[in-house]
Amino acid sequence: MISLVYAVIFILLAPVIGGLLSGIDRKVTAHMQGRVGPSIFQPFYDVGKLFEKDPAEVNGTQRFYVISYFVFAVFTGALFFAGGDLLLVVFALTLAEVFLVLGAYAAYSPYSHVGAERELLQVMAYEPIMILSAVGIYMVTGSFAVSDILAYPMLLVILLPGLFLGFLYALTIKLRKSPFDISTSHHAHQEIVKGVTTEFSGPNLGFIEVTHWYELVFLLGFTYLFFAANWIVGIIAVIIVFLLELFIDNTNARVKWQLAVKSTWAITLLVAIVNLAVLACVVVV
């Protein structure tokens, strides 16, 4: 059952929660590095500033790509929180990512171009595990609908430990955390200048930032699905996962894209085959 109310709540609250989480991210990172760090409201100041800047652009199509990226990422999250079809949610997120990539390509800039290629490599790396996580969840709960999955009485992570680990691995990529922040990353990490987001500035960049917050909330929601049966366990698990991602971010150096893609695929293949095979036997028996 699709619940419009939750979708609206998501659309309104996610930027706030996502921004706060980003701020907490920077604060915790700073403390891990022995610094004081910015206020936890810093991301809001950042986005506010970006919208105050002059809207300059490289070509007339950038705004369209950014708005499309934004619209479809919000759509994905809204669909997810409204209780919609998990597989469609995964595909909708891919659609949003592709718009960002196309915007980067359109700019005809070398850094942007390499960033776009790497972003596509990232998508290629994590797409299988995202689909297979949804499939695994279906095999246990019998439904792709998030509303049904939330109602399932048993902790999914017990039956899907492999897929959950694979999902965590992919989460590092999706959240653009080291060691997998190969196409662009937050804070001041650079390699190919800013990768995908190099040629975006001002309000366009602001929209991209806000979209990242929406994505963050959605991804944490996806993580919550694995622990949905008990909401206390779920919240604690999400917090632990979030802090774990920060920890991984701060203790690892960026890897080459070859390693990122190969390792993700290898792990996906391993956990998917084992986990799904076991599930198939259990379901049959």
Partner: protein, 648 residues
Amino acid sequence: MKNTHSSFRVDVSVQYLLFLILFPLLVALFMPVVRRDTERGWIVKLSALAIGIVTVLALVTLYDKGTVYLGGFDVAPVNLLLFGLEMAMAALLLWYAVKYRHYLALALVAVQTALIIWFEATCSSAADVAYPLFSDSFSLIMALIIGIIGSLICVYSLGYMRHFYEHHPEIPDRTGTFFLIIFVFISAMFGLVFSNSLVWVYFFWEVTTLCSFLLIGYTKTDEAIRNSFTALWMNVLGGVAFIIALIWLAAVPGGMLSLDQVLASGKALILIPAALIGFAGLTKAAQMPFSSWLVGAMVAPTPVSALLHSSTMVKAGVYILVRLAPVYAFTATGLALSMVGAITFLVASGIAISQTNAKRVLAYSTIANLGLVVACAGIGTYEAIWAAILLIIFHAIAKSLLFLSVGTVEHRIRSRDIEDMNGLITRTPKLAAMMVIGIAGMFLAPFGMLISKWAAIQAFINAPFGFVLVIILAFGSALTVFFWAKWMGKLLVVTPDKENIEGAVDKNEWIALVSLAGLTTVTCFIFPIISKILIEPFLLANYGNIARLSQDNILIMMMMLFLIVVLPLSILLPHRKHRQLPPYMGGVVTAPDMHFENALGAKTPLSLGNYYLGGWFGETKLRTAGIYVCGVFIAVMFVTALAGGIVL
């Protein structure tokens, strides 16, 4: 599930079938006679229009009549005529094989001919099927594809062939022959999808093999001749399997040479001929290990690639597999067949990443998507067939659009290389837009191919051992995102300094391109209707169960479609002119055409190339792997069929 014989009277609706099979044949005979372009143009356009209209009429009158059989006349003389024509075709092929000294093709054609003669001599009585022609929803869907897309491609060919000969004055103008073969082919395709008699299916099958052979070798260059013979021997190998299957079926007590008999019989009885016909389908659909003929066929003129080698002829291969799907369901044979399709999907998608030639990318993508259909057919449940038919429809439309766009763009920029298509959105805006729609239609939500993949995932999960197929599908799907998105990105680079070279694209080519682009979008909007009136009745009749997207999901897809159609319009909205910044090149000053001064002060152009990952997805390496693995699964398919079919 038993098919219900609803009616066999020769009424108006059934005459449409005969028109569709015979009319293109008539037009074909006119083609070599007409010399001048204008007259030929009129004939082709009017014929295409007629075929299109009659196809729609057939749809409208027949869609709600279930399965309709045509027969009640003496089939034996027709069978004799077909036999005679087969001998004539064999003679032609043997002559070509001798002329070009291709001994493998010669041997295979000889073997096939011998088997056909043997069949005619010993089994002809069993071939006297009561109702040799029929029509049901699936036939109508295929007929729509052939009738509408085929007609549009014919119209497109008028413009294309004119350009083709302008650019290649060294090749003698044989446009008349070209259209002759094309119309014969269209006739044969209609015959194939409306035939109930398997002997007739086989005849039309062989006609398509011949047409493909002649059209691939059309330009008569060495490469074309070589590739046409590759296509020939692989397809004839399938043909040999097909005729052996027919001989087997004839030997069954009572004879079982019609589709309705085959589908109504007990499975174990016909698993071996089903495996043999499956093998034939695999060769025609260019599944591994028989993929190289389709890739090689790209030397043919683009309308050929669009018509034969993406929308129709190769669909005939999967068509017969989908027809036989109830036989494959829940057997090890079917699962082995699915694995062939799935592995082909994975490997072909991988190879597509490393290809820079646009037509090769399209060829491998076609092979991959056909692999998905094969995988669904091997599973054979109602959900899988729903996915398979959706895949067939959406792929035919989007792929033909892509081929035709690439053909037109090739004439404009004189290259098929994706790297030369940089910034096409500024150089040829409308053509690039068509290509972008086609590419989006191939892999993006909420377009058709994605709906079909989604349906396929759901079908696989519920099948025995389906999780293996799902894993393969997940990986393959990720690979397709990569190569489509990077091509799309290349097209959408904005290079404002480049001039618009779109110029005067031939009006005929525009008609086809715009229609197909429109179709791609419209079918996504109306696919629930298509599903309801055409696919679901077919599923109900053959499987007793229907699959469909839930109401909620349909609503959401419509929302997404609406957004995707509306959002690009925002580019056209007037807005404050923003300050324009140059791209960042590390502070180096760039000219508007992105030339810059390098460290030694020399003027250097900027060139941005896509990643092709040849080291990972190289054609030779992957293809070898695919050939071996699929070869093994084909062997498993036959072994399990011989073992009486292991039920899963």
